[in-house]
Symmetry: C2
Subunit: 247 residues, 2 copies
DNA sequence: TCGGTGGGTTGACGTGGATCAAACCCGGGG
DNA sequence: CCCCGGGTTTGATCCACGTCAACCCACCGA
């Protein structure tokens, strides 16, 4: 490699860490921000952090000072109560935010765990608050992100409270599919990063039930399933199954 | 009533509408705000609104422009999907905020319905954003409130995903009890404002199951139940039932 | 090559809560 | 006073999912 090429490469590496050059702009916080403002934002995202599969990004009880934007990889969050019961509360992929739960009490109330090797941007929360006092659009966008999390949770509550097993799994797969699509990946074919057990925990089902539902979908020609590799063969079938099932 | 008394009464009625004189200060937004700032806040809460039992505070699809603080009364929020299934996502009492779901898409994503005659303060959201750019503590407090809502929802997800019927009801009653206590009411004796059906919807159970659980608790000496009047006889019993039930 | 290991599938069976149905309770109106 | 209606209770039955257990398969390290 020539000196020039090395220098260029180095410059790229440096620049690449900045929000202004991040290809997640549309998904993450800086949406709709003016170039001048974007520059300020770059200072906000001070730290990057790499995680290996299985690493904790943060744990229950750990002091809260940053939220995190997933730059690459895949996470799950879970909560637990004393007696050992726990529940996966969400799966986060590229461009999604982690850690909003910690704001309320200055302490994280759930665990965030990398399901594959991942990278996140740490956003010191006090900085974010400071900057969002200056930049209206940032402030408003952040509020929208928090609100969207609430709406998402309501959706999960609806799922857990009213849907039967196959409807839950269908809803889950359609949601994943859509999120992959929004990121430029195939909505029809993807790898699950999580185990049957983790899916079950998220959906309020036992892993055997999840497994059976997968088998059923495959029998019915809705999916092809090979371990974690999923291919959706009949999206509409999944949709009707999700909604029209019961009266 | 003398003229003086009437004038005093009138003045009181006027003054009473302001945040600075609201006895919900501790529960609602203005916590920890300086007197000077509290004055600005008073301008924020422009409108009061009275609702009769059964009235909608807002509906799904309605444009969002304000959040609401419950001044008195009792509300429920619910979401629904096309096929008619719906779910109660929460019950809100004095000092709690309603409408945070609407921020994300500028449109309300759930219905808010008064379960008894109620009164709310409407807080225009753009004003709130404006003011929270000036008052750090307000900004931070608002973020905490949103975050707390997320944490609460995670708790409900845990309940819906992992608990059995009686555990759910115990958790629900203990939560209500605590919230009444925080408002200076008896934690041991209170009236349910909602029907068995609404409790069931919130807890992901059928009303018959809720009713049976109430009967069971009464047989076991944990509660006395007379229609909507609940008296908790054994708080610890409820707590152990909630957690220790299963391995 | 082999055994070990951990996740996944499948089957047989049990059960908690849904469903269906009847009776009850209480408040309100004629 | 009775009747009516909505919310609630209670009982009988059903079924979706959990539980328990065996087995399979992919992967891995020896």
């Amino acid at each position: 490699m020539s000196n020039n090429a090395m220098a260029a490469r180095l410059a790229f590496e440096l620049v690449k860490t900045a929000c202004s050059n991040c290809n997640l702009r549309e998904l993450c916080l800086p949406i709709g921000i003016e170039p001048a403002e974007l520059k300020k934002l770059d200072e906000l995202v001070s730290t990057r952090r790499r995680l290996r599969r299985g690493d904790f990004l943060y744990r229950v009880g750990q002091g809260f000072e940053s939220i995190y934007a997933v730059r690459s990889g895949f996470f799950k969050t879970d909560v637990m109560i004393e007696d050992g019961r726990d529940q996966v509360t969400g799966f986060q992929m590229t461009g999604e935010l982690l850690g909003l739960d910690g704001i309320s009490s200055e302490v994280h109330t759930c665990n965030a765990i990398a399901l594959e090797d991942s990278e996140v941007c740490a956003i010191p929360f006090s900085h974010l608050e400071g900057l969002s006092r200056q930049i209206h659009t940032l402030q408003h966008h952040f509020h929208k992100v928090m609100s969207r999390e609430i709406v998402r949770d309501h959706g999960v509550m609806l799922l857990l409270g009213t849907m039967r097993a196959e409807e839950r799994l269908a809803a889950f797969l359609l949601n994943l599919s859509q999120r992959f699509k929004a990121r430029g990946y195939s909505p029809a074919e993807f790898n699950l990063r999580m185990s049957r057990d983790e899916i079950g925990s998220y959906l309020g089902l036992k892993l055997e039930t999840v497994s059976r539902a997968f088998s059923r979908f495959q029998e019915d020609g809705l999916l092809s399933v090979h371990q974690k590799k999923i291919r959706i063969l009949n999206t509409d079938g999944l949709k009707t199954l999700m909604t029209h099932q019961r009266g």
